[in-house]
């Protein structure tokens, strides 16, 4: 049975990130989540599997923390999951990530389609799908807003800055989907309960036999603070606040 692989990433929730006074970044309170855009990639794989009579498989590369993602991912309609579990994921850049995912895909038989989101919600580098295509020597289609599979032919609509471009390729292929491709429904209780019973294949980097050393070296990571006036009118009645705001905007000369 053809396999459709959805790549996803377990990321820190950016809403929980704390920036300290010295601009250091505190992720210790941040809860994890499946990157939002990857939920659409998972749903696209589930829909493609249904259309092709195939099996949708989740693939993630992460540290031990990513174990929490498996049940969530599997509740979204995937039939099984592949989990590359290594602490090297912490330091991984786009190159190392693609090498890890490509190695796991090579170990999986009968892969006919690999679906990624354009980018992850933490790094948003938008490198994974094109890099995977290069490493696996498969055709790549990115910025996909719509796709159809007929037999062995994938027809996709790409949304570019100035046009909608319809392209086609023979499977196997790698695609990167835009979030607007589908609605990524929230899983129901039954799906959540069933997820715990679905199979998970786990790999270490040794199992995969790949070098996961990053190519780029992080030299600094600090919080970004926007310098704004922060004049917030919270007291008093609406009329006064509006009057004050209107006067301020006139003075700024932005009207």
């Amino acid at each position: 049975m053809p396999k459709i692989i959805a790549c996803y990433k377990w990321v820190a929730d950016e809403a929980d990130i704390r920036i300290d006074a010295d601009l250091s970044v505190d992720l210790s309170k941040a809860k994890g989540k499946i990157s939002e855009y990857d939920r659409n990639a998972i749903e696209a794989a589930v829909q493609a599997a249904a259309a092709m009579g195939g099996q949708a498989v989740g693939l993630t590369f992460g540290t031990t923390k990513a174990r929490q993602s498996l049940k969530d991912a599997l509740s979204r309609g995937l039939e099984e999951a592949i989990y590359i579990n290594t602490e090297e994921a912490n330091e991984a850049d786009g190159a190392a990530t693609a090498r890890a995912l490509a190695a796991a895909i090579r170990k999986t038989e009968d892969v006919s389609l690999v679906i990624c989101a354009e980018g992850a919600s933490d790094t948003y580098q938008r490198q994974t799908a094109p890099r995977l295509g290069a490493l696996l020597d498969l055709p790549v289609i990115t910025s996909v807003t719509k796709m159809e599979i007929s037999g062995n032919t994938l027809t996709a609509v790409r949304k570019l800055e100035d046009c909608l471009q319809t392209v086609k390729a023979q499977l196997p292929a790698v695609v990167a989907v835009l979030p607007e491709i589908n609605g990524a429904p929230i899983p129901g209780l039954k799906a959540v309960l069933a997820a715990g019973k679905k199979p998970v294949t786990e790999f270490s980097s040794t199992d995969l036999g790949v070098d996961l050393k990053p190519k780029s070296q992080v030299t600094e990571c600090k919080g970004y603070i926007m310098n704004r006036k922060n004049i917030i009118l919270s007291e008093g009645d609406t009329a006064d606040k509006v009057k004050a705001l209107a006067a301020a905007l006139r003075k700024e000369g932005v009207l």
Partner: protein, 301 residues
């Protein structure tokens, strides 16, 4: 020729990237896929333009050939304009070279033989600097570097295309909403708005001050009250108006990324703890259904 290789299908962005390369003191070699762009960039001050000829009209299909060319020529860096096509091409070439790549950098310069880059993480909450050694790839968004002027010779180069992806058709995007990126004033609706009919209060304000209506991702993608082209954020429109006024926008980092370069940011929301107020120059804590109509009246005068 060693140096910085550059590609963007946008001629303006390509010219900016040549400006970046010139600033590093290294040779700048522009790659282009069509004669018209080559002609338009003849005064971009690159050392040369290499006009690619081959069997595909999709630049992405030359990724492997360009990767081979970079190695053969002893290139130091590939700098690509951060557009949908550009990001795809750049990351594919980085994949073939298995080399370092930094996407959508906000700054880049050479120091000690390495390329030092800066980019945003977590939707703009965090700024990360990286050092890239050896032949590397970066993508650069529009507006980061200034173009320069100077004559550029054109030569053609035949490259092999990978035609496994073929073009079926191209349709221009029919813009449903007004052009956000060029707008001087923007009124933005967030999930705090109760129902689609209430968009009228935003429209009235927009009409009163001559603004374009925009929204958050949820309004476009979950509620479909506005086309997806109208949402602001890291995965949507990144704008720089003189004035941005939000209503019912909580101010998630991904959204705020898209308004970072606005001159004045105004927020109206009931929740005084909403992160949008930290990103705002002026804010009113209050019910948008009272505040916005009153503001519309006040600004009409």
């Amino acid at each position: 020729m060693a140096g910085i290789y550059i590609y963007s299908e946008s001629k303006d962005l390509a010219a900016e990237l040549v400006g970046f390369a010139r600033g590093t003191g290294k040779p700048a070699i522009l790659l282009t896929l069509d004669e018209k762009t080559a002609e338009e960039l003849k005064n971009s001050c690159a050392d040369k333009i290499m006009l690619i000829t081959g069997s595909s009209e999709l630049i992405e299909n030359y990724a492997r050939a360009i990767a081979d060319l970079l190695v053969k020529e002893g290139a130091e860096l590939l700098a690509v304009g951060a557009t949908a096509r550009g990001r795809d091409l750049a990351a594919r070439i980085a994949g073939y070279l298995d080399c370092a790549m930094a996407s959508d950098v906000t700054a880049a310069n050479f120091a000690d033989g390495k390329l030092m880059t800066t980019r945003m993480l977590y939707g703009g909450a965090v700024q990360q600097s990286e050092a890239l050694a050896g032949l590397s790839v970066i993508t650069i968004p529009a507006g980061k570097f200034e173009p320069v002027n100077g004559e550029t010779p054109v030569e053609t180069i035949e490259l092999a295309a990978d035609n496994r992806v073929s073009l079926v058709e191209t349709a221009p995007i029919v813009k449903q909403g007004a052009d956000l990126v060029a707008a001087e004033k923007v009124v933005c609706v967030g999930m705090g708005m109760d129902k689609a009919e209430d968009m009228k209060i935003a429209q009235d304000l927009a009409d009163a001050i001559g603004a374009v209506i925009a929204c958050t991702r949820g309004i476009a993608e979950e509620r479909h009250w506005l086309p997806v082209e109208q949402y602001i954020g890291i995965s949507g429109a990144v704008i720089k108006p003189k004035l941005y006024i939000s209503m019912g926008v909580s101010g998630q980092v991904q959204h705020v990324f898209g308004i970072r370069d606005a001159q004045i940011i105004v927020a109206v929301d009931t929740n005084e703890k909403a992160p949008v107020f930290k990103a705002a120059d002026y804010g009113i804590v209050g019910d948008m259904y009272e505040v916005i109509p009153a503001l519309t009246e006040a600004l009409k005068k």
